[in-house]
Amino acid sequence: MAEKSWLTDFPQMDRDDLVAIRKSLDGTYRDFSREYGEMIEGFFDPLLQFLVAFEKLLVNSPWWAVLIAIIGLVYLVSRSWKLSVGITVAMCAVGYFGMWEDTMRTLSIITVSTLTSIVLGIPIGILMARSNRVQSIVTPTLDIMQTMPAFVYLVPVVMLLGIGKIPGLIAVVIYAIAPVIRLTNLGIRMVDSEVLEAATAYGATPFQRLIRVQLPLSLPNIMAGVNQTIMMALSMVVIASMIGVKGLGQPVLKSITNQYFTMGLLNGLAIVVLAIMFDRTSQAYAKRTNNRVSSH
């Protein structure tokens, strides 16, 4: 178009330059993935094998054995009969509506991604709470991880690692890890300095302070982070299914193209069941082991 005044239109980079930049960057990435793709893929191979085996275990074992194992775990961790019964009923409904297998697949990948997020996230949050410099680096990284749309990196990741569980896992972890990091950081920073000082005065090492004072006292916040991490991991189920992760996301996608609302809803509800199972169990565990703080 002719004559654009900088007054009305933003003075832009020349289109050709922009295209050149884009192309060269794209090219660079392509080169990179060609060069290192195999290697990186190899690096993740053990994890992939584990994921595959875990999924197989859940899908191929008789449903009643899996159900018993799940409920048993839920009960062991939460020690709550109410919760265990609720989960049993919900899981049976899931099975009855024909979503058992997909649910197992989703359960498998989500268990691993949530655990990964938490296991990586809490230590990062702790480091972040210790040092303002780490915080000033990690915070914007998390901002990027959370807001950069998964769609942007979905294809590049697939290009690098192929379709399937690993890129799915990576996408989920990238997206879901932020809240637990942020809230661990916040929680630890908010711990009452008087209590911390008492621990110091008795010669507690930084580690002892962390384990016995900071973590327990910031538990409500950390658990809020865990809760959000679980929620966000499960909200990524559909996105993950876009790059070939089997599970409840696929029928959801299917239902949307075909306008089968009820089917979408049912599968969505199965995801919700998983979310509630993870969340309530972890919260009950935290509450049980630290009841005084959460009622503080």
């Binding site: 002719a2 993935s33 195999e38 769609f151 379709i163 070939g244 996301g249 299917k254 075909n258 306008q259």
Partner: protein, 320 residues
């Protein structure tokens, strides 16, 4: 939605769906330009995925025009909409129809010409490693939920690919499928799966359609291959698939001239492929490509409109 009051000749406000793949985006921009400048419509673009756009058109009569709708996606719903007199097929957007099939990269065929046939592929099944199971071979199917999921599934069965130790991998979405192709091409490794054209991917990555040796059996395809309840599918190549322009019934009634234009506007696959290649080359979006197309292919597009409209459009084109 409130269309009834408008007089027949008045175009008024028009909304055009802009889907996010190249050809659709290009077509949408061409329609926008021509409708604005040739038919005095006030055009608004609406982005959206096929599903959302389709649903909204059926239920809400909005947007007015979907310039390129693949029957592949949500065929059922669209047909229902047409049957209920909510939608109207304006015409084929791609005159040759879309091309579907099972493809392998060209470099494989270059290396081993037999790969262009299904026998060759089956023979070399071992090459197509499965992403999650080393002992199996992978066939990348059509994303779940699309119409092609059914047809590609049936053909998978008919071709007895399963017996050849192939596993039907669901790529989850077009993105997944695209990613897997890109990965294969960047590393020059084997790939075998369902795809369709004209598309950016096939513009960018040269692939060869695998010959089933069966020819096209249109009857069989309509009755069995593409039907959910087909018990015993037989082998057939894909017939060209319908790629149409769809408008709402309201729009068709309100702006018959514009509708008339839409029913004439269609591209040959060859033309389209040229533009797509140019877009790829220049990482161009629909708007830029529209300019390019209108300038380069005057003969083609002037045939879709009356002379008087063509003049108007040309004038506008000059003013850019």
């Amino acid at each position: 939605a409130d269309t009834e009051k408008k007089t027949a000749t008045e175009c008024g406000d028009v909304t055009i769906a802009e889907m996010n793949w190249k050809s659709a985006s290009l077509t949408a921009h061409i329609d926008k330009f021509i409708l604005t400048n040739g038919y005095d419509c006030k055009v608004e673009m609406v982005p959206g995925g096929t599903e959302a756009i389709g649903t909204s058109m059926v239920e809400k009569g909005e947007p007015d025009i979907a310039p390129e709708l693949w029957a592949n996606a949500m065929k059922e719903a669209i047909d229902k909409g047409v049957a209920e007199k909510r939608l109207r097929y304006a015409g084929k957007s791609l005159s040759d129809g879309g091309e579907e099939g099972f493809w392998v990269p060209k470099y494989m065929v270059d290396e081993n010409p037999k790969m262009a046939t299904i026998e060759g592929v089956i023979e070399n099944a071992k090459l197509f490693t499965h992403p999650e199971d080393k002992s199996k071979s992978a066939f990348y199917g059509c994303p779940a939920g699309w119409n092609c999921e059914i047809s590609s599934g049936h053909l998978f069965k008919a071709l007895k690919l399963g017996d050849a130790n192939f596993d039907l991998v669901d790529p989850g979405s077009a993105a997944g499928l695209d990613g897997s192709i890109a990965r294969a091409f960047e590393r020059k490794i084997p790939w075998f799966g369902y795809y369709w054209a004209p598309t950016a991917i096939l513009g960018k990555y040269e692939m060869v359609k695998v010959d089933f040796g069966s020819g096209i059996d249109k009857e069989e395809f309509l009755n069995c291959t593409s039907s959910k309840d087909c018990k015993d599918p037989k082998v057939t190549m894909y017939p060209p698939s319908l790629v149409t322009t769809v408008t709402t019934e309201g729009f068709a009634i309100r702006a018959p001239e514009a509708f008339d234009y839409l029913s004439k506007r269609s591209f040959t696959n060859a033309d389209m492929n040229v533009v797509l290649a140019w877009m790829e080359e220049n990482q161009a979006d629909g708007e830029v490509a529209m300019e390019h197309y209108l300038e380069e292919n005057e003969a083609a597009w002037t045939a879709w409109v009356s002379e008087d409209v063509a003049t108007k459009v040309k004038k506008a084109l000059k003013a850019l």
